[in-house]
Symmetry: C2
């Protein structure tokens, strides 16, 4: 066995990305993806519900966010808990080694309406999961929901900047974006 | 010809909803929907890109929002312009006569993952269209985006309440929800 071997979900995602780029999303099957990754179809379906899901990492990101929000200091405000979670995303998911993969992944999604729909739904679910995690800290329902939405927006802005800068840190980009989003929320009820 | 006859997109949406309820979304074709509505398949595709879209009214809602934001008083803050647009939605789309249709529509969407994905993507597009309309009023980019997101959240809350109350007004529900969402945005950066 190789000294370092990416785990099955990552190998499948890499293989899928290669195949989607080579022959298009429509012309790639789950069997093609499994074969390219040197794995079986049943291993594929153990990790992902369907072909689309392979680019969305199952529940990894959502579990990461929920765990980090639960572990944020007890004194943290709702948005500070969200910032804490986005730091964790930067440490474990949007790492420098993943930047290139992330950029190629975005290009594939942008070219395919079916993948865009899945991405939209995943976005809603991440926000719902973040909301739940904040509520479990005692944050009132609507405050939790709004903090999760502002966090999702900050995360999107940070991701766009991070994927374009060769050595930026996602967590830092997310903190900056959260500050900007908060300021914009205040300006939304003021004359411009 | 009947004295009152709903127009083609509405007839198709009604027919689709009936058929989805009777035999399921998967077992209904575009031809079935057109036939039930007394229309042709080509009329269907003149209004909707595919079977899913029939429950999402094409660009009607998005056009309505954009127009109302453009027409909001020049002195309106970004969130006041959004409230103005949600009033228009209440007058032209979420009218008392549409309440029952809306409730049945929600139930069909909730039961079908494909429809949920389309709904998620439509939501993102509505927010993008609202953001664009606010920017055209001179609202800075990020403020426009945040105001659109807060408006989308208020609209969702208002829709849920409106569809459950027999004689509520959507526009009023939306104004109340917007006030609540604004207050929650302030609390998101405070200790609870």
């Amino acid at each position: 066995m190789a000294r370092w071997q990416p785990n099955a979900p990552e190998r499948l995602a890499q293989a899928a990305l290669e195949l989607f780029a080579e022959r298009g999303y429509e012309n790639t099957t789950v069997i093609d993806i499994a074969q390219r990754a040197g794995l079986t179809k049943s291993t594929f379906f153990r990790h992902f519900q369907d072909k689309r899901e392979v680019l969305f990492g199952g529940d990894t990101l959502s579990d990461l966010l929920a765990k980090a929000i639960a572990e944020a200091p007890g004194t943290a405000t709702p948005l500070e808990a969200v910032a804490h979670a986005l730091d964790a995303v930067g440490r474990h998911a949007f790492t420098p080694e993943r930047r290139e993969f992330s950029t190629r992944r975005r290009a594939v999604i942008a070219a395919n309406p079916e993948l865009q729909e899945r991405e939209a739904l995943k976005g809603l679910r991440l926000t719902a999961r973040t909301t739940e995690a904040l509520k479990r800290r005692g944050v009132p329902d609507l405050t939790a929901r709004v903090a999760a939405e502002l966090g999702a927006l900050a995360s999107e802005i940070a991701y766009a900047r991070w994927s374009k800068t060769p050595d930026g840190d996602f967590g830092e980009a997310a903190r900056l974006a959260l500050t900007e989003v908060q300021a914009a929320a205040e300006r939304a009820s003021q004359r411009h």
